[in-house]
């Protein structure tokens, strides 16, 4: 049951993130805006490249040598994608704010360390189980990703609360206000995808086969896919619902 749910969730996560990321990359080509490119690339890279490779390396039953290289390429793609989360957050929500730049720089440094140390570990180890063990410093990558998603979720929530006040006096668009809230949820769901396995792994547990972690990952993967779709490719019915709700409360 959990296996089937996890498989469906993985497919939903990859398809939704990939399609929305691709669509935002197409938007970036038209607008020539770096911010649009960063979010499009980040979503496409993390959902359609990094995540499938990491899953394949971890549970794909590959021979050690192949699993090692698939894992390294997947970790590199994840490192670049999560760095994109930091850059997007600082550019959009906290431009020219010193502490935000420092936090983003620190987060990206953690990512770089996690990738390099994790890759060296993967190249040295001769035990397939070690690729997903607590000894693998790739955990730094997950820690930095949790920090990035937590931060961007808080910024999304802050902007949502501010924009909701502007909406009340006609200075904001209901869909944009809703998109801030969905962005906060996207951050939370992405965080939940990673956090349980990170915590279980740090405590020495086997997160790959932990039912609770798998269930949390599956459910948050579905939620991530839905929130991403509604935020950046909302169907007409959803647009009508959001705009109608705003008119009713005006």
């Amino acid at each position: 049951m959990v296996d089937a749910l996890l498989l469906l969730s993985t497919v939903a996560f990859i398809v939704a993130g990939g399609v929305v990321g691709w669509r935002l990359l197409a938007l970036a080509r038209r607008t020539r805006q770096l911010t649009d490119f960063i979010i499009g690339f980040m979503l496409f890279d993390l959902s359609a490249i990094a995540y499938p490779l990491i899953v394949w390396a971890g549970v794909g039953g590959l021979p050690l040598e192949r699993a090692r290289w698939v894992g390294i390429v997947g970790s590199f793609a994840a490192t670049v994608g999560w760095a994109g989360v930091y850059v997007f957050t600082v550019r959009v929500f906290r431009p020219r704010v010193a502490w935000a730049r420092a936090l983003a720089t620190g987060g990206i440094a953690m990512l770089a360390y996690g990738f390099v140390a994790g890759a060296q570990f993967n190249l040295r180890t001769s035990d397939p189980a070690a690729l997903t063990s607590t000894a693998n410093p790739v955990y730094w990558l997950q820690a930095a990703a949790i920090l990035a998603y937590g931060w961007t979720a808080l910024e999304g929530l802050r902007c949502f609360l501010q924009a909701r006040r502007r909406l009340a006096i006609g200075l904001a668009d209901a869909l944009v206000v809703n998109r801030f809230l969905l962005w906060a949820w996207i951050g939370v769901f992405a965080l939940i995808c990673i956090a349980p396995s990170f915590v279980i792994g740090l405590r020495g547990g086997d997160y790959v086969h932990h039912t609770g972690a798998r269930l949390a990952t599956a459910l948050s993967g579905f939620a991530f896919a839905i929130a991403t779709q509604l935020a950046f490719l909302p169907p007409p019915a959803y647009r009508r619902w959001v705009n109608g709700g705003a008119r009713a409360s005006a």
Binding site: R23, V92, Q162, L171, A172, L175, V176, W183
Partner: protein, 100 residues
């Protein structure tokens, strides 16, 4: 980052046309901006005008300023005529564009 021209303009008008001193005028406008989820460093002339019309009137009335509604209507009208300086891209602008 400095306050916008629109913010400085509204504060200057309040200072000149009411009994509020510079500090009180700026503080009152900042309170109204905060209620609107806006910032003195990024508020555009149009945003300032709406805040003056819809929120500042009540703030001035609470501070005992006579005929606050008429005063605010006049200040808002003048604020709308200001040229908004090219402001840095706001989160609103980015998230509006990302919706297609």
């Amino acid at each position: 980052m400095a306050d916008t021209e629109a913010f400085d303009f509204v504060c200057g008008e309040l200072e000149a046309r009411t009994s509020l001193d510079r500090l009180a005028a700026r503080g009152t406008v900042r309170i109204a901006l905060k209620q609107a989820g806006l910032d003195s460093r990024s508020a555009t002339p149009e945003q300032m005008a709406v805040v003056v019309e819809k929120l500042l009137t009540a703030e001035l009335t609470n501070r005992g300023i006579p005929d606050a509604a008429s005063l605010c209507a006049q200040i808002a009208q003048k604020a709308r005529r200001l040229q908004g300086a090219a402001s840095p891209e706001t989160p609103d602008a980015v998230f509006r564009r990302l919706g297609g």
